[in-house]
């Protein structure tokens, strides 16, 4: 399939990435190359084949409902680029303020 500039722009938007003109052009080329490569899979008949999520069959082990406090919460919260009190602070969310 053809990878278009619009496709790449739309996908980049979902992924919260911006590409300048030059990067966009480059990325369309790379993506086209990779997409053509992976389209090889279309040769494989897969009717009735189950999709595999995990390579091994695993049984989930669940945890019980007891509270565990974070040992050094300051070291965790202190990684934030910007804080206000104990809140994380971010630029305004458009259409919400």
């Amino acid at each position: 399939m053809q990878v278009t500039r619009d496709t790449v722009k739309e996908i980049a938007d979902y992924a919260m990435l911006t590409l300048n003109e030059q990067e966009l052009e480059h990325m369309v080329r790379d993506m086209q190359e990779i997409v053509s490569f992976v389209e090889k899979l279309n040769e494989v008949p897969t009717d009735g084949v189950e999709p595999m999520i995990h390579p091994v069959k695993l049984m989930i082990v669940m945890h019980d409902d007891t509270v565990q406090r974070t040992e050094d919460l300051d070291a965790v919260l202190g990684q934030a680029p910007d804080r206000s009190g104990s809140y994380f602070q971010v630029p305004q969310v458009l259409g919400e303020s």
Binding site: I11, A12, M31, L41, V76, Q79, V90
Partner: protein
């Protein structure tokens, strides 16, 4: 033997420490000196632990020992210098994943393997370079530094665990942790002439290991020889309640099975499969020659080698790239500049912040995979790309199941060629992906696999022999590797730096 301390295998060093012929301080001092001597040329460390703290830690262990406290037999890695790939959390140390995004991030918690390493009293020497978020095959996508191949510094060390491989090859650590999602331990091991071992998916906890592709990522080791790898596996394998994808099994007990085993008795009658597809035209003549020599060694010892077919081999790489990129695109979405890590300056609103932060913080290869992954998961492409690849994954799994019904192990080269030069493949994604051609299938099927040194090319670059085993077949894989190493000396060669 005139070996320097840093050249010795882990088990040899351990014996010397245990017998009291060496102190931890001497070991640490020796390794620090080695790092100081070679690091400017190798560049494997993103962060080296503070020298004073390391020496103080060593002194504490020595003093405790001289007082006769703390039975060291309960601490299997007592005093041994270990390197951690920089995608593994070590509390208080950097965990950059070789990305601008996390350049100044310090992990506030320990990965499960780190906890076990501390309990085993291994000495954490530092964090090792890698491809950015483990996406790459040469460690060139690291946003922070260049790591060079100790055998020839014009060549890449491979990747993504390039820092780990180079550090072991250069004698900067006794062994190193790596992660392998498509060959990221085995391929750099092959390029740098060390052993790279990837256990069965889920064998070792992933908790605290930054996810690249969750259903592929496997924690493993880079060591001097296969017996070291077996010894370490027994320490770090086993179920972890913090990782629901970890196998609900007890730790392995491979080392004791292997250590006194006679290689010839073990190899006699062993059924080995070599897929034609592993030895085709894409394999360079020199690599092929070394691997055939290895086959010969094994056959001499009584193993049966048969050439077989691996029907879906040609589809392994496309399936691998779709699936790992899909998972990666989602795993990378947490890097948004809100709670930790890099945040772009001068942004007025949240959406601009997300976009600018991610665009400035992430490198090209990472972006490319995020976009491919987002594409394969998006409406209209999910079935044709993501789900199709999942189905091909099932078929590859079945190919292996058929092979392992008749054979004990599958053998071939680890990589089609030996290491390449810097910049040679970076601009061509498909050319770069080719170096993982023979390794991705083990990750698609979740199987254990190892790369062991099998000699050199005429340019003096190492070649790796790959051994793959069935699900949970660590003992077979390590057993063949160990037997091969008892019969050969390739793993004893050391680079001159």
């Amino acid at each position: 033997m005139g070996e320097a301390l840093y050249e010795k295998s882990l088990l040899v060093l351990r014996k010397l420490l245990q017998d009291g012929d060496l102190t931890v301080s001497e070991v640490v001092q020796s390794y620090l000196t080695r790092v100081r001597t070679v690091e400017t040329r190798v560049g494997s460390f993103i962060e080296l632990a503070e020298e004073e703290a390391l020496l103080q830690g060593a002194k504490t262990l020595d003093e405790r020992r001289s007082r006769g406290e703390g039975d060291i037999s309960h601490h299997p890695l007592y005093g041994l210098p270990v390197g951690m790939k920089d995608n593994i959390a070590v509390r208080g140390m950097r965990m950059t994943n070789a990305s601008r995004m996390l350049e100044h991030y310090r992990s506030p918690y320990d990965a499960t393997v780190t906890t076990r390493l501390r309990e085993a009293e291994g000495i954490i020497m530092g964090k090792l370079n890698m491809d950015e978020f483990a996406m790459g095959s040469s460690t060139e996508t690291s946003a922070l530094q260049t790591t060079r191949n100790p055998w020839h510094t014009d060549y890449v060390p491979g990747g993504s665990s390039g820092g780990s491989a180079a550090a072991v090859a250069a004698g900067e650590v006794a062994f190193a942790f790596g992660t392998d999602s498509g060959g990221s331990i085995r391929q750099p091991a092959a390029y740098t002439g060390v052993v790279g071992f990837k256990p069965t998916y889920g064998r070792i906890s992933r908790f605290g290991v930054a996810a690249f592709a969750s259903s592929f990522d496997t924690v493993g080791f880079l060591t001097r020889d296969a017996l070291d790898a077996a010894f370490i596996l027994d320490i770090f394998s086993g179920f972890d309640e913090k990782d629901t994808t970890s196998l609900p099994h007890e730790p392995t007990n491979v080392y004791h099975t292997l250590k006194d085993r006679d290689p010839d008795t073990f190899l006699k009658g062993l059924r080995i499969a070599v897929p034609h597809e592993f030895m085709g035209e894409v394999i360079s003549p020199e690599v092929k020659a070394r691997i055939e020599e290895a086959f010969h060694v094994l056959e001499q010892a009584g193993a049966h080698i048969e050439y077989v077919h691996f029907p879906h081999m040609a589809y392994a790489e496309p399936a691998y790239y779709i699936l790992t990129s899909a998972e990666a695109s989602s795993n990378m979405s947490r890097f948004d500049g809100v709670r930790y890590g890099y945040r772009a300056k001068d942004v007025e609103d949240i959406e601009t912040m997300f976009k600018k932060t991610r665009s400035e913080g992430l490198g090209w290869e990472v972006k490319r995979r995020i976009l491919l992954g987002t594409f394969s998961l998006s409406a209209g492409h999910y079935e044709a790309f993501y789900q199709k690849a999942q189905k091909v994954r099932t078929l590859i799994h079945e190919d292996f199941a058929r092979l392992f019904a008749d054979y004990d192990v599958v053998l071939g080269p680890t990589t089609p060629t030996a290491a390449f030069k810097f910049g040679e493949r970076l601009s061509d994604p498909l050319k770069m992906y080719e170096s993982d051609l023979l390794t991705v299938i083990a990750n698609l099927a979740g199987l254990p696999a190892i790369s062991v040194p099998a000699g050199f090319t005429s340019a003096g670059l190492p070649v790796g022999l790959q051994i793959m085993g069935p699900m949970l077949g660590e003992e077979e894989v390590l057993g063949v590797a160990h037997a091969y190493q008892t019969l050969t000396e390739h793993h004893l060669a050391r680079p001159t730096l």
